[in-house]
């Protein structure tokens, strides 16, 4: 039995019943917590829509090369015959001089005439890659250190908690800008965009673990005093068993919820870094760098600002809605 609800008495068991009141009474029997959560999530249309968009985004990012070759042009190909250099590089054609046409689904960028459709897709791939991997790093470090600190307490806890304080007080943005400036050209056997992507994932992931670490530590502190943990200990379970079999399963909900909320934060952070020009190479399309390039030209071609802006907005919103719904579904005390 790994789920506390089922081992910790009849009062907690009553909760899911209340939620399911009105459904067929037979359905109450034998449902696990995850089944209940899924049932709740299914009824939350907003969260489902968010989840749907997230899945779609992931598919788009994965199949980006195919989509670009079918519906677009290489993201770095210039089409200067489509812009009027004398009018500040404004696209010549399309509604409101956006450059939108059958061949350029989202129009072209002013001045260089690169395909916005291909660029925003390429940006999705990079944004999601960086956001997912950096979130994974944060969550891994945060969970391990958070549970260790919460479970063992004493000097271990003091040491880890103070380290967290240091990381929380860290001026991450400034550090990221400085590090991106210091690491030039080649390092660690990598170069170009590969190096910069790895660097961004490391910076964003490694310096964000303290937030989730704190939450996990707090949860672990309360969990380790619970009866089922006492029972396990009383039966002679070793700390590793208690940590992995008794405590960790109960942390799945906060970890999942926090991850879905951390991903959009990381997308925004990556966009901010690219906007400030410390992201990837100049030519590489990311949503942040597209926004940075669009900012001075907004009056020429508003669509140039809207495309990457909306991409960031929709993605962050979708993740947040989904994360929010997930939290409600996983929290037995909600509703």
């Amino acid at each position: 039995m790994t789920v506390p609800i089922e081992v910790s008495g009849s009062e907690t068991q009553a909760d899911p019943e209340a939620v399911l009141a009105g459904l067929d009474r037979k359905a109450i029997e034998g449902r696990s917590l995850s089944q209940i959560a899924w049932l709740r999530l299914r009824r939350d249309k907003v969260a489902l829509a968010g989840g749907g968009v997230v899945v779609l985004l992931i598919l788009v990012a994965v199949f980006e090369p195919f989509l670009v070759s079918w519906f677009g042009h290489p993201p770095n190909e210039f089409h200067q015959n489509l812009v009027d250099p004398n009018l500040g590089g404004r696209p010549l054609y399309g509604i409101g001089h956006s450059g939108i046409s059958r061949h350029f689904l989202l129009g072209v960028e002013p001045v260089n005439g690169r395909d916005l459709f291909s660029r925003v897709l390429h940006g999705a791939q990079i944004s999601l890659l960086i956001a997912f991997l950096s979130t994974l790093i944060s969550v891994l470090i945060g969970t391990v250190l958070g549970t260790v600190a919460g479970y063992f307490g004493g000097w271990v806890d003091s040491l880890i908690a103070r380290t967290m304080d240091v990381f929380l007080a860290f001026p991450l943005l400034l550090f990221a800008i400085a590090l991106a400036g210091v690491v030039q050209g080649k390092a660690f056997g990598l170069q170009g965009d590969t190096l910069r992507i790895v660097l961004l994932i490391f910076i964003i992931g490694f310096f964000n673990w303290a937030y989730i670490g704190r939450i996990i530590r707090g949860q672990t502190l309360t969990l380790r005093e619970r009866e089922f943990v006492d029972a396990a200990r009383a039966m002679g379970a070793r700390p590793a068993y208690v940590l992995f079999r008794e405590i960790l399963p109960n942390l799945i909900a906060p970890i999942l919820v926090y991850s879905t909320l951390l991903i959009p934060t990381n997308i925004l952070f990556e966009a901010a870094l690219s906007y400030l020009g410390v992201g990837l190479e100049e030519k590489t399309a990311t949503w942040g760098s597209m926004l940075a390039h669009a900012a001075p030209d907004y009056a020429l071609d508003l669509e140039f600002v809207l495309v990457p802006g909306l991409a960031i907005f929709i993605t962050v919103m979708a993740f947040n809605l989904f994360g929010d719904g997930l939290r409600d579904a996983l929290d037995p005390r909600a509703r």
């Binding site: 250099p85 009018l87 404004r90 050209g185 100049e282 030519k283 001075p296 907004y298 009056a299 020429l300």
Partner: protein
């Protein structure tokens, strides 16, 4: 007005090969009809009426308000309102690039060997407090400007040219400077280390604006520069704060042949937002964008689509050259064939588009712009009829260099200049056509020459093979334009403006020009210097810049001054 002068230049230039379409009727009431480029061809809204306020706005701030420590084209242009120099430029479009005496009665009288230059001061010129200006005040001003620790911004010509090796300025060096004599209060004599036929241009520099020693407070003198011109500071100037110039009661028209005192006041706003400057110009509530970098691209599009607005604009050719440099110290560019491959593969048309198309400038093939005497038309590395690069020649050179499949290198550019970065991107695309892969790195323009492009060790160590660059003439002449970018003696290792020319033959040719008194013979030599440097394939000139300027209809006496990079002439502009 070297490179740093163009702070926002990139942002603003546009261009157009618009047929100069005249004011096509429909002028709104109260606004006089005008025409496109009217201020390039003559003076617009001529008026000798007094009164009114001329309003300027600056998107940044002065490098230094002290005339002895400034190196921007616009500051040299504006400082003439309160700082008179020994020699200056003429006050009409026809005489704009002609030197005329200002504090002096005549241009300099050289000795036969061109190593001694004598000037006589005009009688009756006074400081704003009524004290007469003497030759000692001019000498003191030049001496203090040679202290490059206290005054790091200004040009260093006097330190290079005067016979005063190692002189550190009057604050540290208590031994009087022997290279400048003042036999009496109205005579000043300069002794040079080597013959220098163009010394009158140095007498034009703001460094020669007199400074009364009793009022000098070193680096703090900028808070209240003692005026000799028609306007003086109201109260004190504080860096970053707006300031106002008012009429100087001790300036007299009879002693001055180029200045006037029409406007009552001149107000300058500091650190104004660039888009706001454009909007206020169009609304007529601001007179001039002082940095003279031209309107922003979005404003350009708005103006050009509206003939009512377009009639109040000028698209003037400047002496500013947008170019790139190839570092001969970075492999494989130590091989001239690899440099030539880059020259041929450069997509100059795409780079021109990045700078605003034909309105942003004309494609360049030489270091000297056509507006500078001595300009000789030649093209060492033609880039094909459409300007997208001559790939056949480029590949040939690449093979000759031993890298037939291309190589990888770095392009560096100034981060704050969107047009320069866009041009770097266009360059990257062009070079990729022959397999030269590049990575663009952006650095802050404030450190660009100190730490990056102009730092010899950093270029070599970090492999900055290709560097975006821009240059404007200090004055409109071969020496004023070329010396700081091609003379190997201008390389000091840090803060260099010569990004790689080391051939001593170039120095020898420059010296030959400086010893030539005949102007046309000298100008021919400047053309030869240009060719000699281009043959080495170190610079890739791509655009002779233009700037699109808007002059509100209510501004008077407006004309484009080619001596100051095609900005409006700030000495003439009045408000009534």
């Amino acid at each position: 007005m070297r490179n740093v002068a163009y702070l926002l230049a990139a942002g603003g230039m546009l261009a157009v090969s618009l047929a100069a379409c005249g004011g096509s009727g429909g002028t709104s009431s109260g606004s006089p009809a005008s025409s496109f480029n009217a201020a390039v061809n003559g003076v617009v809204n001529v008026s000798t009426k007094t009164g009114g306020i001329v309003k300027y706005a600056n998107s940044g701030d002065w490098d230094d308000m002290d005339p002895g420590d400034t190196y921007y084209a616009y500051t040299w242009n504006f400082d003439r309102l309160f700082a008179r120099t020994l020699v200056t430029f003429g006050d009409t479009p026809q005489t704009a690039t002609t030197l005329v005496p200002d504090l002096a009665t005549n241009l300099g009288t050289p000795s036969k060997d061109l190593k001694t230059w004598t000037y006589t001061l005009r009688p009756g010129v006074k400081f704003e407090d009524g004290t007469p200006v003497t030759s000692k005040d001019v000498k003191y001003a030049v001496e203090r400007s040679m202290d490059s620790t206290t005054f790091p911004n200004g040009p260093t010509y006097f330190a290079q040219v005067l016979d005063a090796k190692g002189y550190a300025g009057p604050y540290k060096d208590k031994t009087p400077l022997k290279a400048i004599d003042t036999p009496n209060d109205s005579t000043i004599v300069f002794h040079l280390a080597a013959p220098f036929a163009e010394f009158d241009y140095l007498a034009m520099l703001p460094d020669t604006a007199p400074v009364p020693q009793a009022k000098d407070t070193g680096a703090n003198y900028k808070s209240h520069v003692i005026s000799t011109g028609p306007y003086m500071f109201q109260g004190n100037y504080t860096p970053g704060k707006d300031f106002t110039l008012v009429k100087n009661p001790n300036w007299s028209q009879s002693t001055d042949s180029v200045r006037h005192q029409y406007a009552d006041q001149i107000q300058v706003q500091i650190n104004a937002a660039a888009p706001d400057i454009d909007n206020r110009l169009l609304a007529g509530t601001l007179g001039v964008d002082i940095t003279g970098s031209g309107v922003l691209p979005a404003t350009q599009a708005k103006i050009l689509l509206d003939s009512k607005l377009k009639q109040y604009t000028d698209d003037a050719l400047t002496t500013r050259l947008w170019m790139s440099a190839i570092s001969p110290t970075v492999a494989p560019f130590d091989n001239i064939h690899c440099r030539k491959a880059v020259e041929y593969a450069t997509d100059k048309t795409a780079m021109q588009t990045a700078f605003g198309g034909q309105l942003g400038g004309d494609i360049a093939t030489t270091l000297l712009p056509p507006s500078i005497p001595g300009y000789t038309k030649f093209d060492d590395y033609p880039v094909g009829p459409a300007g997208h690069g001559d790939l056949t020649m480029a590949k040939q050179e690449l093979t000759a260099c031993g890298k037939p499949n291309g190589f990888t290198t770095t392009i560096i550019a100034r981060a704050e200049r969107p047009k320069e970065v866009a041009a770097a991107l266009a360059w990257q695309q062009g070079l990729a056509q022959i397999g030269i892969k590049t990575d663009i790195k952006k650095f802050p323009q404030g450190d660009y020459f100190k730490l990056y492009a102009g730092n010899k060790a950093a270029v070599k160590k970090n492999g900055y093979g290709l560097m975006m660059y821009g240059w404007g003439a200090d004055w409109n002449d071969g020496y004023g334009d070329l010396s700081q970018i091609v003379d190997p003696r201008a390389i000091h290792g840090v803060g260099d403006t010569n990004l790689g020319v080391t051939d001593p033959a170039v120095s020898a040719l420059i010296d030959k020009a400086l010893q030539t008194t005949d102007t046309s013979a000298r100008n021919t030599i400047w053309g030869q210097v240009d060719k000699m440097v281009m043959d080495e394939a170190i610079y890739v000139p791509f655009l002779n810049a233009k700037g699109l300027y808007y002059r509100p209809p209510n501004l008077k006496n407006v004309w484009v001054n080619p001596a100051f990079n095609g900005q409006y002439d700030y000495l003439s502009i009045s408000a009534n």
